[in-house]
Symmetry: C2
Subunit: 220 residues, 2 copies
């Protein structure tokens, strides 16, 4: 079906989802979050590591301790799949079948290489200024010991070593379900990141959510 | 070093990060988000697929089209690493080296099995009621055709087939850097998911961020 070097099909089969045009690049999504999940193969099994990253020009850059086993596996040439996902909301359709998530997802495939020592400081400072814009100018210089303990890795984001999936549509409910008059819409996922799981939604907010639903219904 | 069936070390080496005790289970993190990234091996290379999931009792459950190639690879017995990550903020230390992310990350390792047909409806309804609590009671029943086109997959979350990493600490700046009097703290990541990348922060919000910094400085 496909060669060992070919990445898998990423076509979306579900209704209501839209695959982006092949010319759209993943850069905007890559620039919207510092969090990637790097998958690699160890002893024949998949492993996954979340990590901070930045797109710098046409490279995907990560960094970490020179003692890190998984980073050393990457610099030793391990094949990697770097996944970046933004979950934008829940698409509430008129049936369970058509309900889905609104999301954007990129996966970049390839191998990382270690950034040479004479370029490392530049890469690390660009990473820092991506994570915290303007921060490098506020900080003392990195010590030689700190630099020696840190490595930066880069992987090219080329014309064809990535997939991009964007689910941005509305539910494509069958005519019968639409005719039945039920509501459909989008619920954005915006719980603050410091809210513990299972924290109950206050009654006032619950009521407001009802209001928003009505607003959406009136607009549609 | 390790057998082919052993998962990799997940020890965190960076200062300022804290590995959770081995008795803490990943359940709370798994319950806090519906988004997982499933990594598997195809033709010797890693591939990764973001997907909605729910923890149901001690199982991790996903679902999708019966025509999905990657889901069929899983039901055919492919080894999987399921990664769930919450990014809670940026830890701003007094040096680049000590700066880091505050995050929680779980990876569950194992194989999925297809949920038998006589249990499928239960699983799909529980998934739906996890994604949209109370939704099943509001919906028409799934049609036979819809059920036939959908499969559910489950993987046990056992006592030892997962890793949990929690970075919840403050920067552990060296004494010299603390004595130098620079500010350090945490910046929560709370940009709304529907804000396009590169949208500039308004001046008023930028000013408020300064105020918050001062508040934090005063409290410390």
């Amino acid at each position: 079906m496909e060669s060992a070097r070919t990445r898998p099909s990423t076509r979306i089969n579900r209704l209501g989802e839209e695959q982006s045009g092949s010319r759209e690049r993943p850069h905007e999504l890559l620039d919207s979050t510092p969090l990637a999940t790097v998958a690699l193969v160890r002893d024949g099994h998949p492993v996954a590591f979340p990590t901070g990253f930045a797109r710098i020009a046409d490279e995907l850059v990560i960094h970490g301790s020179t003692g890190s086993r998984w980073l050393r596996a990457l610099t030793d040439g391990a094949s990697a799949a770097v996944s970046v996902t933004a979950l934008d909301g829940v698409v509430v359709a008129r049936s369970g079948f058509e309900s889905s998530f609104r999301y954007r997802s990129a996966v970049v495939f390839g191998r990382f290489e270690r950034v040479p020592d004479d370029q490392k400081l530049d890469y690390l400072e660009t990473l820092m200024d991506t994570f915290i814009p303007g921060r490098v100018a506020e900080l003392r210089s990195s010590s030689r010991k700190e630099l020696a303990a840190t490595m930066a890795l880069r992987m090219p984001v080329e014309s064809d070593n990535w997939s991009l999936k964007i689910s941005a549509g509305w539910p494509e409910d069958p005519d019968d379900d639409v005719a039945a008059g039920a509501w459909a819409g989008l619920v954005p996922l915006t719980t603050a990141p410091d809210v513990p799981a299972h924290t109950p939604l206050p009654d006032s907010v619950r009521a407001m959510t009802g209001t928003l639903r009505n607003m959406a219904a009136h607009r549609a």
